[in-house]
Amino acid sequence: METATRVADRLRGRVRLITDRHELRTYECDGLAQYKVIPALVALPRTTAEVALTVQACAEAGVPFVARGSGTGLSGGALPHADGVLIVTAQMRDIVAVAPDDERAVVQPGVINLDITRAATPSGYYYAPDPSSQQICSIGGNVAENSGGAHCLKYGFTTNHITGLEIVTPDGAVERIGGRAPDPPGYDLLGSFVGSEGTLGIATEVTVRLTPLPEAVRTLLAAYATTDEAGAATSAIIAAGIVPAAIEMMDALAIEAAEAAVHCGYPEGAGAVLIVELDGPQSEVDAQFAMVTQLCEASNAFALRVAAGDEERALFWKGRKSAFAAVGRISPDYIVQDGVIPRTALPEVLRRIAEIAAESGVRVANVFHAGDGNLHPLVLFDDAIEGQAERAEAVSGAILDLCVAHGGSITGEHGVGMDKAKYMPRMFTDGDLDTMQLLRCAFDPDGLANPGKVFPTPRLCGEVPGRHRGVHPLQEAGLAEVF
């Protein structure tokens, strides 16, 4: 606590701070609410300069810092450090520029994801990455996590939509990389930073790519007796050479929960529903939609609904978007898991999940991005009953093992954070993890930026060893260039 007090002393009067313990509790967790740590200090900077000052103060005092946007993350990426400073960017909410002629927007990190779209819509553009939390999550958080969303099947993830960043590195320096034009020269620092989960610095301004609003959007809802059949329909659509904007699937338990919560009116008795959305030029959407409808019919859908307009489309999506929260109605507690498997392994993996669930007496509701194999098993339990939490945790872990065993990933969207650091060795070798940490050492040799996240065993950065080959000392010091 001593050193955080030093940081507070440095910053008082220059950056808004929270030091009162009761107020600090507000920030004790992010979206992963079962892990709580009260930070020693909270800073609420309003400008890049204030963020830089805060990080500099941390660097000088040797105090770790954790960045937090809206605090909606699901892997504990913004879980504070007990001796550290939580740097909250939520006050940096300005939309600096919307430039449809460049197909770009420039925003501060605290700007809410959906607000970028709202600002761009009048010009005929929107911001494509659409995590389910987009009404509350911040773009800065999206950058840290490389957030996806239902429409990333077609449109990619945050990293495919960032063309410029201003960042404060862990030594407190400010760097501007990229901008409105593509392909900045040198190493891809943008690509390295996006998805680095706050371990390489803090983004203080973000330049995003805007996507033209599609001319047409068409959505259908198909109901199947089993997830196998719904999975087969998905495969058929992909095999037909169609890449829909989104293909989402929910199983019977998830449907039951969603129905109870929001009365989305999904076809009764469905073992699985598929939501398929196509967007693009009218002629293309019409042609593809005809093919998709035909494929869904041929794949044994017992009910097929085509959204007649925006309202009906919103209703189809309502069930899917409320699914996580909805399971709260059928279970007192739940774990939201996030894993990826190759799409073709879906039937096999769902079968195994059902077996694992049955064996441990734990219910699992499945919601997933069927198009890209990103599963969100919702592992249900009642914390009040002894042993249930542990069993749910075990099932959750077993599902991740299943994903890795099938050549998938331990996280498709939610990030590693602190929640999955222990699983990283199941996906990567020591050599792999050591190599990734070389990047971390380049940005943060003192290990102050979000320590304890992503990697289970921190790499000591130390001195940079080795001789350099024939580089003039002046050049090495950045004082001269060789032309």
């Binding site: 990333c152 501007r176 095999a239 050049q475 090495e476």
Partner: protein, 396 residues
């Protein structure tokens, strides 16, 4: 044991003394090693490190005259024997290929494709990734960094590292595939890459129309973008002889109605899809210009000015849909002055290639924001400066 013996201990006869033909951009090499696998590559790099050999990686050697010449080349690591598609999972729309595989082998994978244009025939996957080359269809599909989902490479100390995986949706760990993309072989030897694929479209069409002025090109672009036709590419070609041709590529299940829509907007006619390549010949200087979309007319106007002011046959062509243009001019022209003039209107101008004699006097990269961070990354990944020393930005 001497260096060659150590290399031969690692991979047998696939290690040999270098010949004149193995020089890299005119810099003579001492040895060549051609590993057949990631494991062999690791053994080669370990042996090289033990004997303090500098390394340059060679795929098909199509970009030897790109970037700066290496300061020295003890060992050329050749990837030709590491070729072939390791896995093509059509149901998952992914493919994994070894670094020495020619790019064109992945461009047609049955009904699917790695949707990456290859401007130089014969280029390998490894070289394509290391130089981050791309073409017109980047507008719809992105570039290497958007298509690569996993990478395996060998570090300067011989350790094998993997990042990403073989599923498109994956945020576990750092995206080192992006770090290695466009790194010009300075961070490691790329041995294997996984890519996301796209379906090959059932129909394609290209409409080309003349535009009289830079403003007209800008207007054509605005019109096309505003019509929400989801073009695969929007290009301009401005040959040294004068004039501008705007071409729009469309692809999908059906393209007829969109072809008509384009023609209503910009005139022109349907043409055969052109085989796109860089607008320069061997021995010329080749530049890559980037700019925000709204600055395209200003840049094209500057091109006209440059031609007149310096009396150079400057040929410009590229993606107005994304703000990436390529410019070629004979090496006899005042390349330095042309680059300087273009740098005053573009976000960046990089001299991708030029004859060796010319390169020595040119600032190839221009300003490089974040260079200090890049130096720190290089120092961590390759502390002895073993890989491709001097080829990259800031003398890295």
């Amino acid at each position: 044991m001497d260096a060659l013996a150590a290399l031969r201990e690692a991979i047998g006869d696939a290690a040999r003394p270098a010949g004149d033909a193995d020089a890299v951009a005119g810099v003579p090499a001492r040895f060549v090693a051609a590993p057949a696998s990631t494991v062999e590559t690791s053994a080669v790099v370990r042996a090289a490190a033990a004997h303090d050999l500098s390394i340059v990686v060679r795929g098909a050697g199509t970009k030897q005259h790109w970037a700066a010449p290496p300061r020295e080349v003890d060992l050329v690591v050749e990837t030709a024997r590491m070729s072939g598609i390791v896995e093509h999972a059509a149901g998952d729309l992914i493919a994994i290929a070894r670094a020495g595989t020619p790019l064109h082998e992945l461009q047609h994978l049955g009904d699917q494709q790695l949707a990456l244009d290859g401007p130089i025939p014969g280029a390998t996957i490894g070289g394509t990734v290391a130089a981050n080359t791309s073409g017109p269809r980047r507008m719809a599909y992105g570039t290497v960094r958007d298509l690569i989902i996993g990478i395996t490479f060998v570090r300067a100390d011989g350790v094998v590292a993997k990042a990403g995986g073989k599923v498109v949706k994956n945020v576990a760990g750092y995206d080192l595939a992006k770090l290695l993309t466009g790194s010009y072989g300075t961070l490691g030897v790329i041995t294997e890459c996984a890519f996301r694929l796209h379906p090959r479209p059932a129909a394609t069409a290209t409409v080309a129309a003349r535009a009289a002025t830079p403003e007209a090109v800008g207007a054509a672009l605005s019109g096309i973008l505003g019509a929400r036709l989801a073009p695969t590419a929007v290009e301009v070609d401005a040959p040294a002889s004068g004039g501008f041709t705007v071409s729009v590529q469309l692809a999908g299940v059906s393209v007829e109605s969109r072809v008509e829509a384009v023609q209503r907007l910009i005139g022109g006619e349907s043409i055969e899809a052109p085989q796109w390549t860089y607008p320069w010949d061997s021995g010329d200087a080749g530049l890559k210009l980037t700019m925000p979309l709204s600055r395209i007319p200003v840049v094209l106007q500057a091109v006209l000015g440059v031609r007149e002011r310096h009396g150079v046959a400057l040929h410009v062509s590229g993606s107005i849909g994304t703000g990436v243009l390529y410019a070629g001019l004979p090496a006899t022209g005042d390349v330095a002055a042309v680059v300087k003039d273009l740098r005053s209107v573009c976000e960046s101008v990089v001299v991708l290639t030029a004859p060796a004699s010319l390169r020595a006097g040119l600032d190839l990269w221009g300003p490089v924001p974040g260079l200090e961070l890049m130096r720190r990354i290089k120092a961590r990944f390759d502390p002895d400066g073993r890989f491709a020393a001097g080829r990259f930005v800031g003398g890295i």
